[in-house]
Symmetry: C2
Subunit: 337 residues, 2 copies
Amino acid sequence: MPTTRQIVLNSRPQGWVTPENFAMREADTPELAPGDVLVRHLYMSVDPYMRGLMNEGGVAYAAGFRIGEPLFGRVIGQVAQSRNEKFREGDCVYGMLDWAEWSVAKGGESLRVVDPHLAPLSYYLGTLGFPGLTAYVGMTLIGKPKEGETVYVSAASGAVGQVAGQLARIAGARVVGSAGTDEKVRFIVGECGFHDGFNYRLFSIAEALRLYCGDGIDVNFENVGGANLEAVLQVANDFARFAMCGMISQYNLTETYHVRNLNEIVSKRLHVQGFVVRDHAHLIEPFIEETADHIARGRMSVAEDIVTGLENAPQAFIGMLQGDNLGKRVVHIADRS
Amino acid sequence: MPTTRQIVLNSRPQGWVTPENFAMREADTPELAPGDVLVRHLYMSVDPYMRGLMNEGGVAYAAGFRIGEPLFGRVIGQVAQSRNEKFREGDCVYGMLDWAEWSVAKGGESLRVVDPHLAPLSYYLGTLGFPGLTAYVGMTLIGKPKEGETVYVSAASGAVGQVAGQLARIAGARVVGSAGTDEKVRFIVGECGFHDGFNYRLFSIAEALRLYCGDGIDVNFENVGGANLEAVLQVANDFARFAMCGMISQYNLTETYHVRNLNEIVSKRLHVQGFVVRDHAHLIEPFIEETADHIARGRMSVAEDIVTGLENAPQAFIGMLQGDNLGKRVVHIADRS
C-alpha cells in the first residue's frame, strides 16, 4: 500500500489561521478490509466553513478537526484499489476524505462516482459541487428572486457567490455583487453577467449599496457578515429575504463586528434564514444535472483558482480566507491516470 | 365644542425619553364636518413602538410624531357627537387618536365600534387589542410551537409577552418567561401558567437560559434584543424559529448592544422573522373572538397596569420603557357615561 503525505491540525488558531496551525506527516495507508476503497486524490477543496471546524468542538452542525489528526474535506479522486463492488479501479469519485495524497475510504463511505466527461473534474468541488449547491439552496429555497427585484451577493466572485449571482440573473433579477479586487469585479460583471458590482475595499459598503442598489435590496445572499450585513440591513427593502450562508469576515476575529441596526429585522419585516448545505445533500444529483446544462448552454460561467501541491494546501486555505483567490479555490494533487 | 388638553412632542429624545420631551397644551376641538365624529377619550395606550416614532423620520413602517403636534396612539373612547351614520352617540369606539381628552375623528377614520359587554373596555388596548394580536401573529404565524417544544418569551409579563406565552402554553409547549421583577415572574408562572420563569436582573441571561431551558429553545419570541438575543442565539436549538417582535432594550440606547454570535443564525439554520402587527390588522376580529373565548373559559389571564390622568401619560410611557409596569399599561382618562 502506498505511503502518503497528510496535513494534520497542529494547533487551534486564535484569530487568523497561520501556517503553524498545520503540520505535514507521512503515513502508511492501511490494507483494505472488505468494502474498503483506496483512493488516489486528484483535487481537494478548501472552503470557508473549515475555519469553524478548526475551533475546539467544531460547529453546531459538524464535528471539528482534531489535533494531530488529518484535516478533511471534499476530494475528487480516482479509485486505485477496491474491495467494494460499487467502485471499480479507475473510477473517478467524490468523497469526504483527508487532506492527503492517498486515503482509504472505509466501506466506501461518503464516496460517489462522478462522470469525468460532463465537466472538468475540479468543477465537482465548485460550481457542480457543494459550493454550487449552497448557492442553489440559498437562492431558490430562501431568496426566491423575482423578475425585476434587486439581488445583492457579497463575496460574489467566490465559489458560492458566482453561482448565486448567476442563478439570480437567470431568474430575471437585477444582480449586484461585491468583491475585494477590481479584477474580481470585472469577472462577475464581464464573465458572470452581474448587472453591476463594486470593490468593497474602495468604498464604504453602505455608500456603495445606496449607489448600486438605488431601489433597495430584495434578496441578500449573505456570505460576509459584519459591516456588510449592517449595510444591507440599512438598504434592504421591506419584506426582503436574507439567505444567511456564512459570515467569512467574522471567522478569524476574536471580537466580532458590532452590527448596530439589528432592529431593522423587525421594522422592515425581514426574513433572515440560516442554512447549511448538508441538510440539502439529497438535491445534489438534480442540481448537477441542471447546472451542467446551464454551463453547456453558456448561461453560466465558472472561475476556478487552482493551487498545485498538497504541501501548499495550508497556504491555499489561509489565502482563501483572506480573499486572495479569484473563484473557487481547489488544490491540485495529482493527475487522472 | 369642548376644549381639550393634549400632549404634544416638545423635543426629540437623545437616548432615554425624559419628561422634557413632552408638553401639555389646551386646544379647542373643531366643529364637526359631515362624516366627523367627536370622541371622548376613556383609555389610551402607551406602547414600546412609540419610542421609534419619537425619532426624526419615524420608523420604516410608520410616519413619526411631529414636534409641536400631539402624539397619537390607540384609544378607547365614547362617541359624544356624530355626523357619521356608522357611529351613534354613546357608542364605544376604538381608534388611532391623539394623546388628548377629546378629539375629532375626521370622517370617522380609524374608528371601530367595540362591544363594552364582551370584556372590560381597557382590554381592547391590551390582550384583546393590537398587543394581543401582535402575540398571536408572532406565535401562530412564525413561532408555530408544537407540543413538547420549549418556547421562551422575554418581557413576558408585558402586554404582548403575557399573551404570547399563554398562546404557546395553550398549544402544548413548555413555556419559559423572563421579566424584571420577582413579582412579574410570580404573575407569569402563577397567573399565566408559564412552566417556569426568571428575573433577568438577578441572573446572567445566558446562565438562566441554560438552567431553565435545558433542552434548548425551539421558539423565541423576541421582545428585548441585545444581551437577551445573544443569549437565546447561544441556547437555541437547530432550526429554531425567532419571532422578532421588538428590541425594547435597545430603543433608548445611543449605542446598541454588541451581539457577538450572529453566526449562530447560519450554523443553527435559524429562521429569524421580523413582523409588524399592522400588516395583519385584518385578523383583529377573528382574533378578538378567539381570545375573548380563551378569557371567558379561564384559559387566559390578563394583567393590566392602569395609570390615571392624561397629565400622567408621559411618565406612564417613560416608566413602561423602563419596565415599571406589571402587565399592559394603559392611561385612564375618563369613565364611560
